[in-house]
Amino acid sequence: MVHKPLLVKRSDQQTTAALKALGEPRRVEILQLLRKGSLAVGEIAARVDVTQQAVSQHLAVLGQAGLVEARREGTRSVYAVRPDGFAPVEEFVRSFWTPRLRALKDDIEGKK
């Protein structure tokens, strides 16, 4: 049994939400589309092989994870990528490699 901390840090929650959101190929596809520019729900649905309703649900997940945000462009409501939302994810990858490379360094240098 894994010991769980009593309090899950907010950043951990954000990271988990972001990673879960990214764990679905359709959502990755939607993000790829939005990287090129903001789009309305209908425009996304026209480019991705799912219903508008499904797109809305994916956008909701992405939005809750902080990876996209809704914006107003005149009378239109569009969705755009939110770059700041990816920071916890990058930090997470860092948390994988940093201790490992540190262990590598210590092991090699420790043999001297």
Partner: protein, 146 residues
């Protein structure tokens, strides 16, 4: 929103020696994973179990003592199948030691694929680090993070 992670560290050892830590299983597991199977040649198997996460892929380039490129993925992870991401390790002589630069690249070239897997490697990192953070036997955990 970079899909490439890049980091660098200086190691007080010769390039050749650091290189071996990526291509010899008994040395790899000293710093990453519990069990490894490595065939360090172009197309050769790269397989390492990290606390139950089965990293699977193959060596793409093995250029002793300067460069190692590994196709990196996870068995059973549909978002990041074996070999789906790239790990690029560059070793450069620096004084008497070695400058190690590691890049983890998750994006496939946009022209190569329309259903591009944008950030799947992050998901695998979650699985790994989440388990890596667990208490219990974990060889590399004895070393505190940077």
């Amino acid at each position: 929103m970079s899909a490439t992670f890049r980091t660098s560290i200086e190691i007080a050892a010769a390039q050749e020696e650091v290189f071996d830590y990526f291509v010899r299983p008994e040395l790899l597991v000293r710093w990453m994973g519990d069990y490894a199977r490595l065939e360090a040649s172009e197309g050769g198997i790269f397989s390492v179990d990290i606390n139950g996460v089965m990293i699977r892929g193959h060596f793409v380039r093995v250029e002793r003592p300067n460069l190692i490129e590994i196709a990196w993925g996870e068995a059973g992870n549909a978002a990041m199948p074996p070999g789906a991401t790239r790990l690029l390790v560059t070793l450069a002589a620096q004084g008497a030691g070695t400058r190690l630069t590691l890049e983890h690249i998750g994006l496939v070239p946009p022209e190569a694929k329309k259903h591009a897997m944008g950030w799947p490697h992050f998901i695998a990192r979650l699985a790994i680090a989440a388990r890596g953070d667990d208490p219990g036997p974990d060889p590399w955990k004895t070393t505190p993070p940077g």
